[in-house]
């Protein structure tokens, strides 16, 4: 080493020594300063950890046989990754062409300059697989043709497709009032979708997801939302919907409802209404159901049921001992109660009648007399036990309670006792009426009407046990009244009679109340019936609103009942009575 160069060696050596020492010093300083430790940790986490929200798949809805009524399908979010966008115009054109999206809006989004906070922007949601396939094909084609060309060439780079699950209803409009729908934000509306929204949606979980593969963590347990098995039968529901559509058109009615219940369990087998919607097009709900239109009139719309209500009045009278089937009544064609004169439906006097005759000829005067004979407290006590004026508690959203004015209410008058006896001045939903009458079909026990049969959650199925809602009348009364109603139909050769099957039932024709009183040219035609009489398997309630073919329930509603029963016995595999008895005897 030459002495004149020694200082150079010393300098280089010192630098080489000082630099690592400085680095070491800085490392120690950074790693021992609590404030900076906190800051750096936060910075590191922000880059490696993402606050992720896991949304479980919404639970499915099945009919009683496991047919899917509501499930989930893969749809896509079409978005742009802004730093990768080469040609916003091409993206806007492609999305306009394939998705029908507004060109200028798409161009605006795709042209957004990327920043630290804005990298990913959504162009469209709910995009189908077919549409995505088309866009991907265009993307590949552009890449192959113009991939190596400079900026400005047609390119769909930056266009990304993010799959997610969205609701689908394979049956489209079938049972739509029962099911309800889910909107774009995943919120359930109407029917079981609303009533069981929390169960179906499951619990959304938020957790910190680390990008660092060394810190790979187990995904939190994310059970999908509970699934529901409904009591309805897909085939019966479809058949009843077809029937009510056909009959509403045939009778010129404004609308119609058919309720089919199992009187022994309270299970709703079908609930058909004329206004339905394709649940996959939930955004059309506002057009199909304008303001004030109930989504499910069977549970949400109340009306004055008319003479079908006489079944409840007679049940109360027989059960309380106010009358027996043989009690005689001389019909003079009118009766005065509370200062109001009540007439029969035809204005005529029907002379001497027994109780079966009163039901058979649907005599308002006779039923008003029976209610008077029972007394106010007894009559209303029975009506409350039948659930009139209260919600039935069915597990569907938006159930209406109806109205039963009670003595003591400011708008109750003594005359109401007489009119209520034949279903005037009292309102109920078709489902309430069906549930109340099912007590007569089920030996006096009124089962709680319900639509969900089982809930499947966390891998287990929990069946909902049938529950007795009340026992308004005795089994003996129920049997007696069933026999009276069956004979009534047979004696008058009603259009409701079903060859081979013994059924019991009652027609109803109700005038519609208006601000100017009751109109007689427009009515609500109803029929309630059940069968087979010796072993009831179904209760069928028919309501035709404002039929044009005839105002009478016996003419327009009774044949609908017969047709409904003919379809039901086939779908439920119920043999004609004589064959059933002979098979049971074997």
């Amino acid at each position: 080493m030459k002495p004149e160069n020694s200082w150079r060696y010393l300098l280089v050596g010192s630098l080489l020594l000082v630099l690592p020492v400085l680095i070491l010093f800085q490392l120690i300083r950074l790693q021992t300063n609590p404030q900076q430790i906190k800051e750096f940790k936060a910075q590191g986490k922000s880059l490696t950890e993402i606050n992720t929200e896991l949304v479980p798949p919404r639970g499915s809805i099945y009919d009683r046989w496991g047919n899917l009524l509501a499930g989930n399908q893969i749809v896509y979010e079409v978005a742009v990754e802004l730093p990768q966008v080469k040609n916003p115009t091409a993206i806007a054109l492609a999305t306009n062409l394939v998705l029908g999206a507004d060109y200028s809006r798409m161009l605006g989004i795709a042209s957004t300059p990327p920043s630290v906070n804005v990298i990913h922007l959504t162009l469209a949601k709910n995009v189908t697989q077919d549409q995505v396939n088309k866009l991907q094909a265009m993307q590949n084609e552009f890449n192959q043709k113009y991939g190596n060309l400079k900026r400005g060439a047609p390119s769909l780079d930056g266009l990304v497709f993010v799959p997610y699950l969205s609701r689908i209803y394979p049956e489209k409009s079938l049972a739509s009032p029962i099911i309800g729908f889910v909107n774009a934000t995943g919120q359930g509306f109407y029917g079981v979708e609303e009533k069981y929204n929390d169960w179906l949606a499951g619990k959304t979980k938020t957790f910190l997801w680390s990008n660092d593969p060394v810190e790979a963590q187990r995904l939190p347990d994310m059970p999908e939302g509970a699934s529901l098995v409904l009591t309805i039968d897909q085939s019966i529901q479809a058949s009843m919907e077809e029937l009510i559509d056909q009959e509403v058109q045939h009778t010129g009615s404004k609308s119609g409802v058919i309720v089919v219940l199992d009187p022994k369990t309270g299970e709703v087998m079908a609930l058909a209404t004329t206004t339905r919607m394709d649940l996959n097009q939930f955004w059309r709900a506002g057009d199909i159901y304008p303001s004030g239109t109930p989504f499910d009139p069977a549970v949400s719309e109340t009306y004055e049921p008319g003479s079908v209500y006489k079944v409840l009045t007679m049940a109360a009278a027989l059960d309380s001992g106010a009358v027996t089937p043989d009690t005689k009544f001389l019909d003079r064609g009118f009766i005065e109660i509370g200062g109001t004169i009540i007439h029969n439906w035809d204005g005529g006097a029907w002379g001497p009648q027994d109780m079966q005759g009163c039901l058979q000829h649907s005599l308002n005067v006779c039923l008003a007399w029976i209610a008077k004979r029972m007394g106010t407290s007894t009559f209303y006590s029975y009506m409350q036990r039948f659930g009139i004026g209260h919600v039935s508690g069915i597990d569907l959203a938006g159930e209406a309670a109806g109205r039963l004015k009670l003595p003591g209410d400011s708008d109750w008058y003594e005359a109401d006792l007489g009119t209520n006896a034949f279903g005037q001045g009292v309102s109920a939903t078709p489902l309430q009426m069906a549930a109340a009458v099912s007590a007569v079909a089920n030996g006096g026990k009124m089962m709680s009407p319900h639509i969900v049969r089982s809930i499947i959650s966390k891998g287990y199925q929990k069946d909902i046990e049938p529950q007795v809602l009340s026992a308004p009348i005795s089994a003996e009364t129920a049997h007696t009244l069933t026999e009276m109603l069956a004979r009534s139909l047979e004696t008058e050769s009603s259009d409701a009679l079903v060859p081979g099957y013994r059924v019991a039932g009652k027609t109803g024709t109700a005038e519609i109340p208006t601000p100017f009183g009751y109109t007689s040219d427009q009515t609500n035609a109803s029929f309630v019936g059940w069968g087979p009489v010796d072993d009831p398997r179904f209760v069928v309630y028919i309501w035709l609103e404002k039929p044009q073919a005839s105002v009478w329930g016996s003419i327009v509603a009774a044949p609908v009942f017969r047709e409904a029963v003919e379809r039901l016995v086939t779908l439920l595999n119920i043999p004609p009575d004589n064959i059933r008895h002979s098979l049971l005897g074997q």
């Binding site: 899917l68 893969i74 394979p170 489209k172 790979a216 287990y460």
Partner: protein
């Protein structure tokens, strides 16, 4: 011994020590080799530790990436299963089934055309069970033997009683 004689002796001793130390000291090149060897050993050790660390970290990272990939695949599969169930639902929908049945020549049956036969052992169609029926589980509390709960004093007392009790026990 005079002063000169002492000096000679001292010089002789020093020479001996020097010779001795020279005899036992290492050559400079050997020292340098030792330092170099130690340095290389440290480098090798550091490289070894670093390679083990990198290997373990690399494998953990690769496994982590696999796990993340599988998790993503699992979520994709769940979505696809849901999607396919719905596609199956469409194929089994009432309208579609009716259309296919009619295309195959089936037609709706009237009640009077139906023939009912007694079929021994026939079980009526039962509503669907899509999952095992839930049954509440009764979790029995674990029964611990007394050895796990009793104190040493209680145990000694028991042992003592077992020995003594028969002696004092009054037979009926």
């Amino acid at each position: 011994m005079n002063r000169a004689g002492v000096t000679l002796l001292q010089e002789d001793g020093m020479e001996r020590v020097e010779r001795l130390s020279q005899a036992y000291s290492q050559a400079p090149w050997r020292k340098q080799m030792q330092i170099l060897g130690l340095f290389l050993l440290m480098v090798v050790l550091i490289a070894l530790v670093a390679s083990i660390y990198l290997n373990v970290t690399g494998r953990a990272g690769a496994l982590g990436r696999d796990i993340q990939k599988k998790q993503a695949e699992m979520l994709d599969d769940e979505q696809r299963i849901s999607d396919m169930k719905s596609k199956l639902g469409i194929l089994y929908s009432a309208g579609e089934m009716e259309r296919r049945a009619r295309a195959l020549g089936f037609q709706s049956i009237d009640p009077e055309d139906t023939m009912y036969l007694a079929a021994p052992g026939y079980v009526e169609r039962q509503p669907v069970n899509l999952a095992p029926v839930y049954q509440p589980q009764i979790i029995s509390a674990p029964v611990l033997p007394p050895q796990y709960t009793e104190s040493l004093f209680v145990w000694l007392q028991k042992q003592f009683n077992q020995v003594l009790f028969p002696l004092f026990k009054v037979q009926p």
